[in-house]
Symmetry: C2
Subunit: 374 residues, 2 copies
């Protein structure tokens, strides 16, 4: 375990401001950091069976050393845990523990645990304190910044939830060593996204430092901190997602359609992989519209491929996609206004923009060619 | 139906500011007011079986005339509707209607409907637009101001919810004519509360105008508007209930204990009646502590009694209360700190204050005498 001092990213949201601490080995000091910010608080640690086996003993030891009384609540691992059923059970457990508003829910896990625990923290007693200890790369650079919490409904993903900002996020970059390579790469796709949105220098830095980030050096913590900062800038401007925050959806309109197309089967496609293909598609589509130099689209795709990520629809294992099905999913993605589609397009590496005037016929023709290009 | 122009109470909460319109016959113009504030929105009207029979046709006609597409969702009447089960069903229904963030949930009913519908509006798509059309006096002067929403848990009332401010409140004072006298009186107790907290002039005005308010004259609308304004001042200062907002709990610590003591059986005691007895107790207890002139305590009780409200524990029908049981309930009311109780006490009519240093032994001795004084 390394002992450099952590990087601190401050999220400035007035009375809801908070710190993200980023660095290797931070769980060992988590108790001290939490106790300092929430003196006298009790805590419940919400985690899943997989993460509990790996990191719960270290977190409990750290909280205990800081004199923080904490009760673990261990849930099943997997996306199905983001349900009303699990939410109701979790809320009841928190009430049973007689936790008060000033007490803390600590989410130890990936996006599923963070979203569910954050939602519960947001509604018990109309809002408890909330601490995130994200254990996946995706959660460290995406889900833990911005205050979005929620669960899935049988009618769609993330359709129910609240905005509930955490009081502290502890991103321990050492825990990422326990991730499967495919899961690490999926999180890396969201890292690349920040470069592609509006940080060409960061994209170039990633091209150079990708191997070191995967290997776990100081560059990994630096990259996570940079991404949190990048997302923070957007969230601070647009906490409730009315405008500029839409840029964070780069690659997500195509990506969500692909995820829905495989019925969210993680064996075929995980979220980050969908975003990787979606970003490659957004760049090639922008090139086809004459907005983006083709060499920039190729450069974006090349970097994603170097990281082991898919960039073409044909790379998704299993049965083929039809253009009609994908267009149908895109139309459902809440981004249609008077027959025109809202998309994130780009003029080149780090030059993305929101377009709410995309001709569906052009998207359809483009997708047809992409599906055929196997 | 009268046609004077409505009183408007503005709740100033920055980007979450909204208007409360108060006056007789306002439902007839509700569609126009909603369409003006939420152009292009679709709506779901959440109501209960009792209120639907009385006021839903008028509201639907008004929305239709304004070109507002609205779907009614009719739930069972009564406190049991404030449950996770009903919340999940309501959320699913709103999603089934494919309503978006910019669309509106309209709550047509009393506190139960407002609390449940507001909670659903607060969590569907992480927050939809919300309009309240309160149909009880209690909801018009209390529940519809302040943004508190929520449901009950088997572990206690209102333990789960969010703060979600409405976009508009339409308090049609004519609909109060359909209330049972006991229900009107219970709402009136919360009106008296605003006078007793810090508005001695308003209390004196109520003493003079009570018969007119019950009869339904212009004084009724004036009284409702005054109460909304009084609550607004408190909420604006303390939106998330950390400090001064506690004054709104005048009469509620004793009141909640009494409600819990009858197991929330509305045949024995409704909330407003519990508050009436609680306020009389708070005044007599303050007098006993030498804080409040005994004649002020007598005056507060006399006014509540004139309105047909109970002011003594012995007036609650059914089996007697024990001092031990009441003290136990008070201790559970989240207001104990290091063995001292937090109470709202008073120095006289309109001179209430928060005391977090009340000796439980003195409360117990006082309650014992009150229970014996049949």
């Amino acid at each position: 375990m390394e002992h450099e001092s952590p990087r601190t990213v401050r999220i400035a949201l007035g009375s809801r401001s908070y710190d993200i601490l980023v660095g290797p080995g931070l769980i060992a000091g988590a108790g001290r950091e939490i106790a300092r910010r929430l003196p006298g608080a009790r805590a419940a640690i919400v985690t899943d069976e997989t993460v509990a086996g790996l990191h719960l003993p270290a977190l409990l030891a750290s909280l205990g050393a800081a004199g923080l009384e904490a009760t673990p609540i261990v849930l099943p691992a997997g996306e199905r845990t983001k349900s009303f059923e699990q939410l109701v059970a979790l809320v009841d457990r928190l009430l049973e523990l007689r936790l008060e508003r000033g007490d803390a829910v600590i989410a130890l896990g990936g996006g599923v645990i963070g979203d569910l625990a954050g939602f519960a923290a947001g509604i018990v007693k109309r809002g408890m304190r909330f601490v995130q200890v994200p254990t996946t790369l995706l959660a460290q650079v995406d889900s833990s910044v911005g205050g979005k919490t929620g669960i899935n409904s049988p009618r769609g993903k993330n359709l129910v939830g609240v905005f509930h900002q955490p009081d502290l996020v502890i991103a321990d970059t050492s825990v990422l060593d326990t991730l499967a390579p495919r899961e690490f790469a999926a999180g890396y796709a969201e890292m690349v996204k920040y470069g592609l949105i509006d940080r060409p220098d960061f994209f170039a830095w990633l091209e150079e430092n990708r191997p070191a980030i995967f290997a776990g050096g100081a560059q990994r913590a630096e990259a996570v901190a940079q991404c949190c900062r990048a997302k923070a800038v957007v969230v601070e401007e647009d906490e409730r997602e009315d405008g500029r925050r839409a840029l964070l959806n780069l690659g997500h309109t195509f990506g969500h359609a692909l995820e829905a197309g495989v019925a969210y089967d993680p064996a075929r496609l995980v979220h980050g992989e969908g975003v990787a293909i979606g970003m490659a598609l957004a760049h090639r589509f922008s090139a086809r519209l004459g907005l983006c130099p083709p060499e920039d689209a190729a450069r974006a795709a090349a970097h994603l491929e170097a990281a082991g990520l898919p960039t073409r629809i044909g790379q998704i294992p299993g049965a083929g996609f039809t253009c009609e099905a994908l267009m149908g999913k895109i139309a459902q993605d809440k981004k249609v206004k008077r027959g025109r589609l809202t998309f994130i397009l780009t003029r080149g590496i780090g030059q993305s923009f929101v377009s709410d005037d995309v001709d569906p016929a052009k998207v359809e023709a483009f997708l047809k060619d992409e599906i055929d290009a196997r």
